[in-house]
Symmetry: C2
Subunit: 356 residues, 2 copies
């Protein structure tokens, strides 16, 4: 081994073939050690790393990325960046991606209209090494490369997902979460319970509405369709739902909202009409966004582990990006369901006896 070093002139940049010769292995093995050390035995790894040190070989990361058509970045597709729900998920993704030396770029799939199709072009032009999708309503075409010579980068869904696709997803049990919220209201003594829903074409909306019906039905209570009000997860839609609730003949004494933003908008508008929370009506949200704990009154809600959702999604994506392991087994592609939690604060109380 010692003699072989002399073949490298002092001013020549050592190349991968030099490392291979010094280590007595193929250049493919050197490449494997540098890109995916877990694919190589510890003994070979040590040989190669010693040869890297001996030759002074420097990995040209930019060139390597170019060769692999890697961009050094992952892209996260978010429906409505303005929704504060996504911020902690993005932080979780960024923490994990950053440790792997990857940038995180975020694109809004809904604003402006048509953004989803423009983004598809961008992705198929190899601008992303991987994709985390938080929007379950993307068009089907998004997942079909326009040219056969271009691969879609690996995809992980988080929170939402597109039905019929088998990309792995990180989710929570939305149906169970909604049931937890309604069970809390039932335990407080509420018997007339309303629900402000998400957008009707959204998979979370259906699952959470099912959870509401599960809990009501288990308690022998009616799921009155007039008490299921439309919303779209936004603050504005919570405000818009308030007059509909106020106009009901027989108002529910409690309302479960499918997002915290809607719950805040709903409470704000009720307050403007002199209706007290929780004195006149109890309100539960979903998500536990930052403002929930600090709204007046502080909002009872279902906490989603948002940081963990981001971290797990990024970890799963990195696994996919690394490709098959040394036995040729593809990276684990299983989906993960993370736990949720009921957080009781000041927006829920027993029903006012004069109003039940």
């Amino acid at each position: 081994m010692d003699g072989s070093l002399n073949k490298i002139g002092p001013k020549t940049n050592p190349r991968i073939s030099d490392v291979a010769r010094v280590a007595g292995v193929s250049t493919a093995t050197v490449s494997r050690v540098l890109s995916n050390p877990s694919m190589v035995s510890a003994k070979t790894r040590d040989h190669v790393l010693a040869a890297v040190t001996e030759t002074g070989y420097r990995i040209n990361l930019a060139a390597r990325n170019l060769r692999r058509r890697q961009s050094g970045g992952i892209v996260v597709l978010v429906p409505h960046l303005s929704n504060p729900f996504f911020s902690q998920i993005l932080s979780g993704i960024a923490r994990v991606a950053s440790e792997a030396g990857l940038n995180v770029l975020v694109a809004d799939t809904r604003e402006p209209e048509g953004a989803d199709r423009q983004i598809a072009d961008y992705l198929f032009n190899n601008r992303a090494d991987g994709l985390i999708v938080l929007d379950g309503n993307l068009p089907e075409s998004m997942f079909q490369p326009p040219h056969n010579d271009r691969d879609m980068p690996p995809v992980i869904f988080a929170c939402e997902w597109v039905e019929g696709h088998d990309e792995p997803a990180v989710t929570i049990d939305n149906r169970h979460g909604a049931a937890l919220a309604v069970e809390h209201l039932i335990a407080l003594g509420h018997r007339r319970i309303g629900h402000i829903m998400g957008p009707r074409d959204n998979i979370l909306t259906r699952q959470r509405a099912d959870g509401v019906r599960d809990a009501l039905s288990a308690a022998g209570l009616e799921a009155d369709q007039r008490w299921f009000l439309d919303g779209d997860f936004t603050l504005a839609s919570g405000i818009a739902a308030a007059p509909h609730w106020l106009a009901l003949d027989e108002r529910p004494t409690a309302v479960f909202c499918s997002s915290d933003a809607m719950a805040c908008g709903f409470m704000s508008e009720l307050n403007r009409h002199g209706v007290q929370v929780p004195g006149d009506v109890s309100v539960v949200g979903f998500d536990d966004i930052e403002i929930a704990a600090h709204f007046i009154p502080a909002l009872t809600t279902i906490r989603q582990p948002r940081g963990a959702i981001g971290e797990v999604a990024a970890g799963m994506l990195l696994d996919l990006m690394r490709g098959p392991d040394k036995d040729g087994k593809p990276a684990e592609g299983g989906s993960r369901t993370l736990p949720i939690e009921l957080i009781v604060r000041n927006s829920t109380a027993a029903p006012n006896p004069s109003r039940t």
Copy 2:
């Protein structure tokens, strides 16, 4: 002209040289018509476009972008994506960029730590055609390409800016905005007025604190340094400021917060301690984020035209990206200052006579 078409075989993809021949112009002129029609006379433009139709020439956008090293996207650098202040600015940018056929990707410069340096690498690898920077505390190195053969894409600052750089900026008059807020409190009869500040190294913090002093001084009031409390624009820092305010010997009867998020956190924490807004203390915010109008009480604040800031910044960036016009004159590089407005809601009132 008719005969020349015969030189193109029926199965050959027509090339730009075919168009040039048919139109009787140079390929450079064809290219100019297709990329920047305003640079070419109407007559030539008509000739060339007729030739494009005649030959069936299709512009290969992907190849064109590649040749120009264009990515088809602009990148927006945001400090703390979780700050709801940025959402409407991003929407404004996306509206304008989308009309120009450009994607918008957003990167957080602060989370996780060191993200700013990773992003710099990405940008210098020609991943962005242009850059809108909303972070005035980026490291100097960000603006110095690591290699001479790589150009920094054009940059526009918005909201914040890096002092000593001459990139054009879209801003508001922060000093005037803070003065407006304090003048409103003075007009209500307040004489002891406190201020919760942004991060000390932030340019907005200094300008707004100056505006507070301007207004106090103009009214012959004291700017008591003990009433200038630390914050960092976040909700959490507004919460953290509350105990400091509560511990003051002689509390101000009104507090101007340098962000709405801080104002909401401050009001929330005061409420937990049984202190009423505006009964016990008046609170003014800055920004007019979405929740401001719907917090309880609704927050008096200084409205920044956030959508317009985004639109103007994107428009200025597109001008820079188009480069010099046909007379060789560079695109307008001037900065713009957009108007702000005091929005009076329910968090401010005359001081309680028993407490002044």
